[in-house]
Symmetry: C2
Subunit: 350 residues, 2 copies
């Protein structure tokens, strides 16, 4: 729950819009105007400031009489993925993809005794959890490059269909947050183009984003490597994945990636960790109404609890620092409490 949620801003916008209707002028008391009902929208959200913020933002930017009206073709909303749209604990889903390491090491025996591959092959979960971002990059480069983009897609698809999350024993693609699917849908039904802007691999997320989130490949921005155009022995062209990093779509890389791939500032941004800070800042400083939301994982019972903001357990995965929390409060971003704001987390729950 977020008691300091700055609903006042949105209320002011609403008021200035209502005030243009002569019949209402004079009858308005800012302190007594009730928030407009969200009706049957966003059913997996509990009533509260988070649900209301989404609802008010969409209403004020799509109402032609509003000062914050945005033309349909200009409506852009961006979503981080890991921890914002789907589960990221105990490790980022894509990292689990390094289950491929043994197969790769079988083909390239020189990797067996080289770090970080040696650690991964040891199966020591504690040691694996301590690997750095740089180690992760090495693993991804070794496992995910050198193949054609079609081979990669087939491989990723196969993995997604068979791999299961250890806690729920379900495919990762079922561990998406139902309230966020509803937010995506509500935005799209109001002509917003929804984008994923993820630190995860762009090609990886594109494999399932359309099916799982209704987001087509061209609306997935992620950490991206280069490809190389060539021809097979029959002269047929193909693209090979190269171990060359083009975009590191984390932190400052998020607004940079948005500029590269989308070319304009989003109106709304959703994240959950310090890696999303710059994306929300960049979204926030544009003109007009801006929706900036951060998911706080404060529900150890139904999902996970980690911060270290607000005294939650610290975490290397999806870190939500107190500094980020303070910036959110100061700049009028909405913090979504999974525990209090979400009636249901997953579609498979009763």
């Amino acid at each position: 729950m977020n008691p300091a949620h700055p609903l006042g801003v949105t209320r002011r916008v609403l008021l200035s819009s209502l005030a243009t209707l002569p019949v209402l002028t004079g009858a308005l008391d800012p302190t007594s105007v009730p928030a407009q009902s969200t009706g049957g929208l966003l059913p997996s959200w509990n009533d509260g400031p988070a649900k209301q913020a989404i609802f008010d933002f969409v209403r004020t930017t799509t109402d032609r009489s509003s000062a914050s009206y945005v033309l349909p073709e200009d409506r852009i909303a961006v979503f981080d993925q890991d921890g914002t749209l789907w589960v990221e604990h105990p490790v980022y889903t894509q990292v689990v993809y390094w289950e491929r390491v043994p197969a790769v090491a079988a083909k390239k025996p020189e990797l067996r005794n080289a770090e970080p591959f040696k650690t991964v092959l040891s199966g020591n979960r504690e040691a694996i959890a301590k690997l750095s971002m740089r180690d992760l990059e090495k693993i991804l480069a070794a496992t995910l490059t050198g193949m054609s983009v079609e081979e990669f897609n087939a491989e990723a698809k196969r993995w997604l269909e068979t791999a299961k999350h250890p806690r729920w024993n379900r495919p990762y693609t079922e561990l998406v947050y139902q309230p966020m699917l509803e937010a995506l849908r509500h935005l799209r039904e109001n002509a917003y183009k929804t984008y994923i802007v993820t630190g995860g691999g762009q090609d990886f997320v594109r494999v399932y984003a359309e099916k799982v989130y209704g987001i087509p490949p061209e609306q997935v921005v992620g950490t991206a490597g280069g490809t190389k155009y060539g021809y097979d022995k029959d002269g047929k062209p193909f693209l090979t994945k190269e171990p060359k990093l083009i975009l590191n779509d984390n932190n400052a890389g998020k607004p940079e990636g948005i500029h590269l791939m989308i070319g304009r500032r989003p109106n709304a941004a959703f994240g959950n960790s310090t890696g999303d800070r710059e994306m929300l800042e960049w979204t926030g400083v544009g003109a007009g109404a801006r929706l900036k939301m951060l998911v706080l994982h404060d529900d150890a019972t139904r999902e996970y609890a980690y911060g270290p903001a607000q005294g939650l357990p610290d975490s290397r995965v999806g870190t939500f620092t107190q500094a980020l929390y303070d910036e959110a409060k100061k700049d009028g971003w909405t913090v979504i409490s999974m525990k209090n704001d979400w009636k249901r987390i997953f579609a498979f729950e009763q």
Copy 2:
């Protein structure tokens, strides 16, 4: 005109689709089936194989009963810009932007005696025309980086509003090909997402693509540099353009750029030079109906004539080699003759 145009392919698709209607089976004679009328569509195109190829492609990929039917959300068409959508002679429009060099040199005097700036400042058009691609990159890096993306946009907009083409004495944004605007519209009216995939600067083209072509910034893929996220003295975030090349969107860079920015293979591709070869090849080898078109500038009277394909004058700008022409013939790409296929070139013509 393109006498070897392989309309037969499209006819076969049509026939196989018609053949599913029992009442027609037996009544079909492949040699006598007339091409379906294009009605009032594509009015600036003369009747002929090029116009028919666009019309047939759209019909066969949007007709649910066709074997080549493509789901609306999967429809992607890509267009080169220089020489395909607007005039590229005597020099690529963006190159004319180096008129900014004197202003930049005034601020950075060390450039005055360094090449290629010295040549540009000399005003010697012949010497300027001989500058290499590498020189051009240096000029663009010097003139177009180091400023915030907003400053760049404002600067490019100002230039576009004032600069005029020496031959027609009109703004460059009026020198777009009316038949191609109609092709873009026809594709979009049939749910195709239209993209520009240009060797020109991505940020530059995004400034006017929506107004001129109806193509939003996020559907412009071009040669792209990096940006850097930072904060001004008041803590407000901004992006600065960096002299770091992320994507050289020419030749093999076009399919690589399409993979990076769009993430799937287009169904249709339009180009006009050897720089578009790989894009058309990559588009061509997908399954189902594929539209691959090349504009041949063979109209010195109404626009320009250059090749050197088909004995046209050679050119360093927008080169269309005989090898490209031969590949087009061999692989069933359609060559558009500006002279014969286009009734009108520009909207301002009577």
